[in-house]
Amino acid sequence: MPGVAKGTARASALSKKQDVLAERLAAMTLPEGGVWATERRKDALARLQAMGLPAPRDEYWRFTRPQLLNAPAPERAAVFHADEAPIFDEIDRLRIVFVDGVFAPEESDDLALEGVEIERLAEAATKDIHWAKELYGVLETRGQDPVERPHAALNTAFATDGLLIRVTGKVTKPVHVTYRHESETSDAYLHNLLKLEAGAELTLLENGPAAARFNKVLEVEVGDGARFHHVRAQGRDHERQAFTAMFARLGAESLFKSFTLTANGRMTRNECVIEMTGDDASAHVAGAALGHGDFHHDDTVFITHDAERCESRQVFKKVLRKGAVGTFQGKILVKRGAQKTDGYQKSQSLLLDDTANFLAKPELEIYADDVACSHGSTSGAIDEDMLFYLRARGVDKDTAMDLLVLAFVAEAMEEIEDEGLAQAMTERLDGWLQRRRGA
């Protein structure tokens, strides 16, 4: 019977995925933690074991080969020594540093800031952080349905450290987490938890390549009327591998805005799962990715509208050259009753030569009748007419090309609300372009 044959094939595919997981877990042990953390970790491990790790045949991994992220150990990744000034340096902020996934107290500010409670996951064993136990792994678990995200469960189970941040008021300055990479073989797991109470506001800045391989999860609960801004620059190390996932749940009239700049990186998969559960909320996820050569960058976004009059925007731009690959999978799910949803999704790539490649799968799934959703995905080269127009005004070819690349990325950059932060990102991008002149 074909049904049985199919069932058997599925069972064997699953058992293969579980074998891959078993290999990964062979040398790993669950980190020590308090009762609540241990419970969560065990739960995540059980969920993970039921799923196994992704297989190349999985629909969700059609564009991105999971092997580098699955393998028991990371591939060696050389540490890149940047000549640029440290990012966000001119901004008054609370700085927290992790080196290869290990907290660096001597480089970090005191974890104290008005309107915020900051703890470390590694200290969860000794502290009863009641709000964290209601959140840790909870949004991640919700995000596993309808699509499995095994690496995120792996993170919840094995994250050795991370920040537990609860925001109760309007915070005077951003929290800035730097993830430094110093070891060529480090395999780091960090799990950050953020809870913005009703009406609270926080800007989170993140930067750095973190490790040879980095698995990072961020869970964010944005309370009613709360506002969360997130700007991240994933470091420039060429050989690093990264899986990151953001899980957010948005309350009524809340705002979630996240922007990521990715320059270089052999493998980056950035997942973002947002659930809009309160009316009139707004979620913006944007990214700019710059790849040259051995570069694979994957944005995978899933936004669920489960309340009325919510707005979501996805704006992703990728600049690719010399064999670089960019992928995008973005879905807007509008549940029954989520009337007046305004969903917008745009993913575009600028291919600077014909060896670069962009793969996109935009999806809309809509069960409400009064909604406005749009999506668009394009792939193109530099516009020759624009290039000529600039050159005819005396702008040399390299400068004109850079100007057009910046223009292409501008729509994503505009998603950064703060001008200083937007400027910092633009400078990074500009630096990246200038270094590639004539290459």
């Binding site: 020759e384 007419d385 624009m386 005819a392 005004r393 005396g394 400068t399 100007l403 501008a410």
Partner: protein
Amino acid sequence: MLKINNLHVQLEEEDKQILKGVDLEVPAGEVHAIMGPNGSGKSTLSYVLSGKDGYEVTEGSATLEGQDLLSLEAEERAAAGLFLAFQYPVEIPGVGNMTFLRTAVNAQRKARGQDEMSASDFLKFVRAKAKDLKIDAEMLKRPVNVGFSGGEKKRNEILQMAMLEPKMCILDETDSGLDVDAMKLVSDGVNALRDGKRAFLVITHYQRLLDHIQPDAVHIMANGRIIKSGGPELALEVEHNGYADILAETA
């Protein structure tokens, strides 16, 4: 100033000859007009002179003050003093008009060995020039030509011309689609740049523009050649009788 000699041009992509031996000379300080039916090669001439890709020069030459234009990159021609006001100015989303103008001005200053203009000097400069053309701050802030009306685009071309202070200006149908007021602004802009040395090549279909900008000579282009040249009266003849007579007499 501009000397074009027996210029033959075909498309790079297909075997199609567009310019079939253009001869033209515009001396310093003069305004010459080119008129001619649609498709005769006027825009192609302006593109080839300013260095657009996609054309192949198979014969002939073009020089600006004795310098071979055809061997230069587009940006080098601009730095040498050539300016083309486009028939269809290009929209560039994501690049602010002000950024564009500043980049262009500074690129040319740099190419000519001058210092870049300071931000505040540039601002004063652009504001003064923009005011003459009734270009407001809003238009300077918007992305280049995006959402501009036809008239605004053409005024923006003249603004660029005024700021870059070229030696040789080619205006390709800058009058098309302009209402009477915009026509006046544009011609005033051009006339303000007439200083006895700067030369102009004005491509147009209408006498209207030439009422404002008095040409020293008028050339008729058809089928890839200049078929007739004369004084301002030639434009009036075209205005009254169209091209039929001229085409017939030169056929």
